[in-house]
Symmetry: C2
Subunit: 339 residues, 2 copies
Amino acid sequence: MIPEKSKRVSLASRPHGKPERNDFQYEEVPVPEPENNQVLLKTIYLSVDPYMRGRMSNAKSYVEPFQLGEPIEGGAISQVVKSNSSRFSEGDYVIGILPWQEYCIASEKEVRKVDPSLAPLSSYLGILGMTGLTAYFGLTDIGQPKEGETVVISGAAGAVGSAAGQIAKIKGAYVVGIAGSDEKVEYLTEKLGFDKAINYKTCGNIKDALKEACPDGIDVYFENVGGEIGDAALSLLNKFARVPVCGAISAYNSTEGDIGNRVQTVLIKSSALMKGYVVNDYADRFKEGASQLGKWLSEGRLSYEETITEGFDNIPEAFLGLFQGNNLGKQLVKVSDTE
Amino acid sequence: MIPEKSKRVSLASRPHGKPERNDFQYEEVPVPEPENNQVLLKTIYLSVDPYMRGRMSNAKSYVEPFQLGEPIEGGAISQVVKSNSSRFSEGDYVIGILPWQEYCIASEKEVRKVDPSLAPLSSYLGILGMTGLTAYFGLTDIGQPKEGETVVISGAAGAVGSAAGQIAKIKGAYVVGIAGSDEKVEYLTEKLGFDKAINYKTCGNIKDALKEACPDGIDVYFENVGGEIGDAALSLLNKFARVPVCGAISAYNSTEGDIGNRVQTVLIKSSALMKGYVVNDYADRFKEGASQLGKWLSEGRLSYEETITEGFDNIPEAFLGLFQGNNLGKQLVKVSDTE
């Protein structure tokens, strides 16, 4: 039964610093009929990700800012409930960048099919999707760890970090993760096979802790968090180290600029490379990445966790929790069951 | 006439912050006879360079620190005055990393011949030597400017900066230099063909001035100075920009760490690359670089300036002047005339 109205979440105000619940507004909109080459979709899973904070600000970046009063959009898995497209049938599962909305219309070009018989639906948003690809390209193309090198991952128990660390292990590196709870530290070393993990909240001086965990220095620092953790890791880089800069979650809510150690002298001393990227920079290699990730997954060499928040009404809470580090692995919102 | 004693300059104390005259100590040492496979050298030109500040501190870096009480060493052009080596004859000119000393002994492996009939002697320390190679490899290997792209050079009227800017012009880029006096600005635009130049001391807000000078943003930022100039340039990077990090002279005398804008979010937004380097990273390509620089020089496509301080007694002043920006182009000390 398709309802007449659908809830959606729009951006009520641009967050100043840390986003708050009332920056988000719930509304009801009609559920229209799909026109030619369109499908009507029912949302199953929504992905909430730290990068979305950037789109809530009105600043130049690699993607357009969200518009005030318009629905927020992000990665989603949906099911086709009505099709006016020859490409899709009712019941098909699709993935796309879609609005935070229970039901929505999409043109057939905006989505592509996913096959739930090959892998769990949610994994297309995570390890086999944007998350896994982000880890894969940042680590293998920029980080390029060699056997025996030391790789440090910040935000290591998050979706991208946990994948990046496992790929580094597959490449034969000595891998050290930094995370924010004892539970996460245990997950990294016991379940994912990291060689060492540091709880930055309880370790005392993070630089000293990193030094102890990395007796041979750092060859690859996979950056997810920035801030003082980034400062410490960068100060321990070896000659010709590589630093894929994937995220800087500690800075996303800053209202006073991101002030800390400048990197110039550090990079000169170590002849190190730092490179920022977003996963879409690698769009022409997504097939290669997804195929490699799928292979490792099927061989049992990659595992992943999901933190699934239930219910459309809890999307803002799930998103805000990212900045508290509430999630282990990929944070998703389960909006509805499949038909 | 070879004297019995030679003056030398040794490191009297490790500078705290900005080096001072009394961190350097003049001494007299005997002039010995060259042993087997050694030569006795008379110093003609000494090169003083900002990177040497790093060796005066006792910190891990890409080269060993100078030792207290031992002579400071750097790039030098000398003349063989006595030879006990089959490779060198009296009167030959050689280049090497040699002590700040009027006369010194070197093993035949520590120096190599240079030919004053091909280019002025001093140019082997500058445009055809370490300086030119530093500019060449940083700009062409890391910066990789394409025709029509915008290249910004800080420390643009210095030895490396002025070479880097001219190479960027040869590559067809739009080139903007940043320097510290109106005289330097005029030199860059009138003599070297830079498209624009900014006097950072009088331009007001450096970021605004850069924005105005670079209407299409920055594709390559060749970093020599760091600090607030670096912060401003990095904030204007275009998508896929490249930042060769050659120097950060503003930070070399800092006693309280180098605090400013962290770069992580900037690099992510622009998918930009920053890479530190020292010229020795390219040792296996020096021949290629020197040959290319020599070609451009002979074609009149590269020009260079030298600031030559006269007299062995004035080495510390010449070195200290680098941090005041006293030099235009390469700063050298002329120690003695050729025989």
